[in-house]
């Protein structure tokens, strides 16, 4: 290429500029590669998959969350789920910080100040609390059964091992619902409930204790453990039938009139109208009455996440995905009225304002203070 002399300096300058561009590009590429390597080094984690704990009452909700999260995200490993009773789960969650301790805990009991103090004492200082939704326990009978309304006090007086006569506890000899209250039908008292686990615990805590809580004789008992035993100890004369949770609806349908069972709202809906929810304390369990807290046997479902596990210290983090899992658990597609949890588990959505609040807390990873 012939270059006129007059333009030679310009061409040289252009060449220099183009060479500089190449150099700059190369440098940028090198930097980006180096940067990527640095980023890779920063995100090195102790564990590949999330470690999630759930109490028995929230295990089905947690499974549903894991299922949805696994299908909507690219995960290096499927989250590990351990189902434990709440006290043990809390102890494990608060046992410390690091790859050998769980990342997330889903439970139906809000962390008490003592639990928070326990966590803090073991170095778990940054915990994010999110409320996912509202669970409920429903008493149901088969369609057409005249027993369609009860008070929690009547349930306790019908099923408790002892009843209060005057100021004394005497063995419960009631055979018929009518003996408990004249307004109730003349059918045999019978209950189908879970043998153990969360469903049974909820029945004891939310219905039986609720039924005896306001009894004047019970109120005179100071000691919590003794009072609880008087409230939740059920009769042993064959009127309480214990089944697995999934078998309870079928057992109610086969049982004679007057039989009630402890089920979830989703089980009632799944029954296709063969089971009807019993109006408890004059409130029919529906999404609206549960969300408004008018229906009493309900419980909140909480998710606790360790924020310390989502940060890298010295180039090493614990695990990826805590922030994403938290955000997913409170997203509208999961906890909305038509969301995954409402559809598949019967969990009732929080009011819209509260859902927005939870999403904000998940996005900012607000630390639990109170």
């Amino acid at each position: 290429m012939i270059v006129p002399e007059t333009t030679a300096p310009l061409v040289i300058t252009q060449r220099l500029i183009s060479q500089c561009k190449v150099l700059a590009f190369s440098a940028a590429m090198a930097l980006s590669v180096f940067g990527a390597q640095t980023t890779q080094a920063q995100t090195r984690t102790e564990r590949e998959g999330l470690w999630i704990l759930a109490s028995g009452s929230t295990s089905h909700v947690t499974r549903e969350l894991i299922e949805g999260f696994s299908t909507s995200h690219q995960l290096p490993a499927r989250p590990r789920l351990d189902v434990l009773p709440t006290p043990q789960a809390l102890e494990a969650f608060c046992s410390g910080v690091g790859g050998a301790t769980p990342d997330i805990f889903v439970t139906s009991r809000r962390a008490t100040p003592a639990a928070k103090e326990y966590c803090r004492a073991r170095g778990v200082t940054e915990v994010v609390e999110l409320q996912i939704g509202i669970g409920s326990l429903v008493l149901a009978a088969k369609n057409g059964d005249p027993l369609n309304t009860l008070s929690s006090e009547e349930v306790w007086r019908a099923l408790g091992a002892e009843v209060v006569r005057g100021e004394e506890f005497v063995p419960n000899r009631a055979r018929l619902w009518r003996e408990v209250s004249p307004a109730l039908p003349n059918s045999e008292i019978r209950l189908v409930t879970a043998a153990g686990g969360s469903s049974r615990a909820y029945f004891e805590d939310l219905v039986l204790q609720s039924g005896c809580r306001h009894n004047p004789t019970i109120r005179l008992i100071f000691e919590a453990g003794y009072r609880r035993s008087k409230c939740v100890t059920m009769r042993q004369d064959g009127r309480i039938v214990e089944r697995r949770v999934e078998d309870i609806p079928g057992e109610i349908l086969r049982a004679p009139a007057g039989t009630i069972g402890t089920v979830t709202l989703s089980q009632v809906r799944a029954s296709g109208g063969t089971l009807v929810p019993i109006k408890l304390d004059e409130v029919v369990p529906t999404n609206a009455t549960i969300a408004s807290l008018d229906y009493l046997p309900t419980f909140n479902i909480f998710l606790y996440a360790k924020r310390q596990h989502s940060r890298a210290v010295g180039g090493v983090g614990v695990v990826r995905g805590i922030r994403e899992f938290s955000a997913f658990a409170v997203s509208e597609q999961v906890v909305g009225p038509e969301g995954r949890l409402a559809t598949n588990t019967g969990v009732v959505s929080l009011p819209p304002d509260d859902r927005v609040k939870q999403r904000r807390a998940a996005a900012s990873q607000t630390i639990l203070t109170r």
Partner: protein, 236 residues
């Protein structure tokens, strides 16, 4: 004298009233000079203000709320805005009302622990407070709830137990929570009683091997009792 006055008045009033009776002229509005109405009493005196403050403050905590049939809700639940009811489900019962009458009146409520809470009771209180918050969003209700929350949280500290909650409404609002260590030293009287019980137990247990296979005798041996001096006996 009185008769003269009445007569004079009649003479004076007579000519005024007479034309109205004799003439058929349209009735004129009567203009009887009456006693002017007095201005309402000033309600801004110090005592009035204190009185209003007193009543208003009492109303904050529904002290005068009565339990009637209409206020009873399901499960023995009273009206949601009843502070006493919230304290009651939190395990505290109103024990005393301290009232001081004076230039600066004083008013206080003393709550004593009535029962321990089970986990379910605690959950129930939290749900009721949540329900209360939704139905009573005002600042007074928020104060009520914060007191109950505070008491609930304080009662959860394992090493301490709440003995008493004192709420002063007047002259200045104040909440005093009296907490004592669970392993606090016992009073002289209590420790003497406990020692006596322990000695009685050990004496009974020492009798057990000798009467193995038989039922515990209904009588209590004389040496099981610890001699108590007269002043101690008075204390006990």
């Amino acid at each position: 004298m009185r008769f003269v006055l009445i007569l004079a008045t009649a003479i004076l009033l007579g000519p005024i009233a007479a034309p109205a009776q004799t003439n058929n002229a349209p009735a004129q509005p009567r203009t009887i000079p009456g006693i002017p109405l007095q201005d309402p009493d000033a309600g801004d005196s110090l005592l009035d203000r204190l009185d209003r403050l007193w009543e208003g403050t009492k109303g904050l905590f529904s002290m005068t709320a009565t339990i009637n049939a209409t206020s009873q809700m399901r499960g023995g639940r009273q009206e949601d805005n009843d502070f006493r009811w919230l304290m009651n489900i939190a395990g505290y019962k109103l024990k005393e009302i301290e009232s001081t009458v004076g230039l600066i009146p004083g008013l206080g409520l003393n709550f004593a622990v009535a029962r321990e809470l089970t986990e379910a009771d605690r959950d129930y209180v939290e749900r009721e407070l949540e329900r209360h918050a939704r139905r009573n969003p005002g600042p007074i209700s928020a104060i009520q709830r914060s007191i109950v929350y505070g008491v609930l949280e304080a009662s959860d500290l394992g090493k301490y137990g709440i003995e008493k909650v004192e709420i002063d409404l007047l002259p200045l609002p104040k909440v005093k929570i009296l907490m004592t260590p669970v392993d606090a030293p016992l009073s002289l009287e209590t420790s003497r009683v406990l020692r006596a019980i322990e000695r009685l137990n050990s004496n009974i247990n020492s009798l057990m091997p000798r009467q193995r296979g038989t039922q515990l005798p209904l009588w209590i041996p004389e040496d099981a009792f610890v001699p108590v001096s007269a002043p101690d006996a008075r204390r006990l």
